[in-house]
Amino acid sequence: MAKVTTFCGWFVVILCLIIWVGWQFNIPILRTLLPTAPATTPLTMLILLTLGLALIISHKVVTAPAAAHWVWVCWGLAGAAILAGVWTGLQYIFRLGPNLEFILYPQLVSQQGGIFPGRPSPHTAVSTILVGLSIAMSPLPAQLYQRLTMILSLVGLSIAWLALFGYASLTNPFYAVPGNPSTGMSPLTALGIVALVIGVIGLRPNEGFMNLLTTPSSGGQVVRILLPIAIVAPLIFGWIIFYGGAAESLSPVVLFGLSWGGTSLIFMALVIWQGFILHHGAEEREKAAEESHRLFLQIQQAEERFRTILEAAPDAIVIVDETGRIVLVNAQTEILFGYKRADLIGQFVEQLIPPRFQPQHIQYRQHYSTEPRVRPMGATLELFGLRQDGGEFPVEVSLSPLETAEGRLTTTIIRDVSEKQQVAIQIKRYNAQLEQQTEALEQSNLELQQFAYIAAHDLQAPLRTINGFMQLLQHHYQGQFDEQADDWIRRAINSTRQLEMVIHDILAYSRVDAQTHPFEPVPLNEIFDELTTMLAPTIQETRARITRDNLPTVMGDRSQLTQVLQNLIGNGLKYHGNLPPQIHVSAKKEDKNWLIAVRDNGIGIELEHHHRIFEVFRRLHSQQEYPGSGIGLAVCRRVVQRHGGKIWVESEPGRGSTFYFTLSQLP
């Protein structure tokens, strides 16, 4: 569109050159286009030429920043044209001289007919003044001048258009001075003016009329269709009816009627067409409005959902922009920090942090913005929140970056962990208490053990004294009292022997923890072989058979492990039924442990006693049936426990027993 103005400008310049050629070489058709029409006078030709050039310069000024003097050149050219027009008008009104029309070709002009040969017609003068003014004002950007430019040029155009319509419809007064048909606006002049006005309109394609012409709106559509038809249709109609009609010699009234009827028909068609266009546009608009409303509802719904989630969250959620200012908070934030929402939005997030942490937080925040990443809850930092009333509370914070159209936001989820911390403190306190109690218990346990050991140990001396004197009594005085006395002495001695056994066992039991040796590799095969050697007399006496698998070497206290095997094998030898005892020791690997089994064919143990037999002084038989103190298995359990293992029995009365215990493998 920008080229329209330049094209029009040069079109006018070339038109003027053609007219000049018409005058110079006396070729009438080049001066008038139609043989019967008035010619374009040399003065008109000059006026058009200056206006054409002024238009070209105005375009230069409007489209590109040009030096100020070009505006002056434009005004100078336009001004000259206006002055020539004004002068011509004054000549008509006041019959003034001198006559400018004879400047170039006086002889040729005077040959022309008419009252004012060579003088531009009043139509031409008026329209060139209007167009000249509009071109002069066209470089000025102010809206007032733009409006004036448009109005003046359109008025000027209408004069030229009337002239063209006059030629088309043979309506003489539209182009010529009444009573003087050879003085009028020539068709070439009219074309030139039309071209100039089109050029002026094309100067600013995005404003005013030109904008309307080019806009895709339905208004622009209407103008684009209606205007050319409104311009062209009357011309064509005029031409067809008056030129064509004259040939058929129809009456002028009929012709007039035809002309108006045709025009009316065309405009009816156009109106209907425009109606469709407008209707279609309205439909489209409605559809678009519906669609936008639907989208709006969707967005509203999504927003609603987001709000619900945000507000229902059990933690405070604070969304912060890149500068650290709070953009959004939820209800929980208000509850937790005691602020109203409005008091937080737009504030720096540091408002929620105790002052002593603020500088560090700002630094941290800036660092975070350089490499944002999701930071989960309960990370290392110890953080505190600051309520509006100045109170502080411990918090855990998680961060996640949120890219949006308005830049990067950070979603901060803040959880009050006061309760959690209090619980942790409570647990710590309980643990400390428990530890203390355990320590105290261990201490008292140790003291008890030592007490038992010392007591048992110290009981030995008086017991030995009693036993010694009772035996002396028996030795020296037996048979000197009566039989009763002898029996009592015997019973007393037996009791001291029994008591001695108990003391011996208590010492053995408390010695498991009181007298320990460092752990060392203990080959169980060796222990077994030593034991069978030691027990050889009993084995022979009971005709027992004691066998073993290949036993492992384990870590432990050699003397205590010896005691365990000795007690278990000893039990097997002791608690046998009618058959001679058969005892077998085996070992099996189980996970990280050795499972040692001592199997006998003895009397067996009732299921209900399987646990109780490992208790201290727990005996299932009387001294008369099977003598013993009830400490052997308790010692076994204590030793195995001290070695980190477990001991248990599988047995049925009459079907023998198998004692199992576990020991750690060598590292």
Binding site: H457, Q460, A461, L463, R464, T465, N467, G468, F469, M470, Q471, L472, H475, T496, R497, E500, I503, L507, Q515
Partner: protein, 151 residues
């Protein structure tokens, strides 16, 4: 039953023991063991050293062939007696048997390091105690060759 040389002089034994009951039981034990010994008794370590050095009322005391030493005693205990005798050149050749009711493992090692000759735990049962005395007499006065007396 142990063979005891008929014509030999009875062995001189010094019993260092504070508990009167134990002294009686030991004396009776020796009698029942039918050992021909001359058993002397002192109640504590200090008296023991005085006896060995023939000091004060022990001026005429014999040099014992064997010392039976209890550990826990007032005034001066058995450990100190061992140390003193070990440090005394005129006495440190004397065999010393510790006769006690205590079975403290660490204590036993310590006593041997102080060069005691034997460590015997007195059995609670008197009959066994008598057997121990018999075995001991057999060992020290029949099997072992003791140094010649210097007085």
């Amino acid at each position: 039953m142990t063979e005891w040389p008929i014509n030999a002089k009875p062995a001189e034994i010094l019993l260092v023991e504070d508990n009167e009951d134990d002294v009686i039981l030991t004396q009776e034990g020796f009698k029942l063991a039918k050992l021909r010994v001359s058993l002397h008794h002192v109640p504590n370590g200090q008296e023991c050293l005085a006896f060995l050095r023939k000091q004060g009322r022990y001026a005429n005391a014999p040099t014992p062939d064997l010392i039976l030493l209890d550990l826990n005693m007032p005034v001066m205990d058995g450990r100190e007696v061992l140390e003193q005798i070990g440090a005394d050149d005129s006495l440190n050749h004397l065999p010393i048997v510790i006769l006690t009711s205590s079975i403290e493992e660490q204590g036993i090692l310590k006593m041997y390091k102080l060069r005691c000759s034997s460590y015997i735990v007195k059995p609670v049962d008197f009959t066994q105690f008598v057997r121990v005395i018999q075995e001991m007499g057999n060992y020290w006065f029949t099997i072992v060759v003791l140094p010649q007396k210097t007085n």
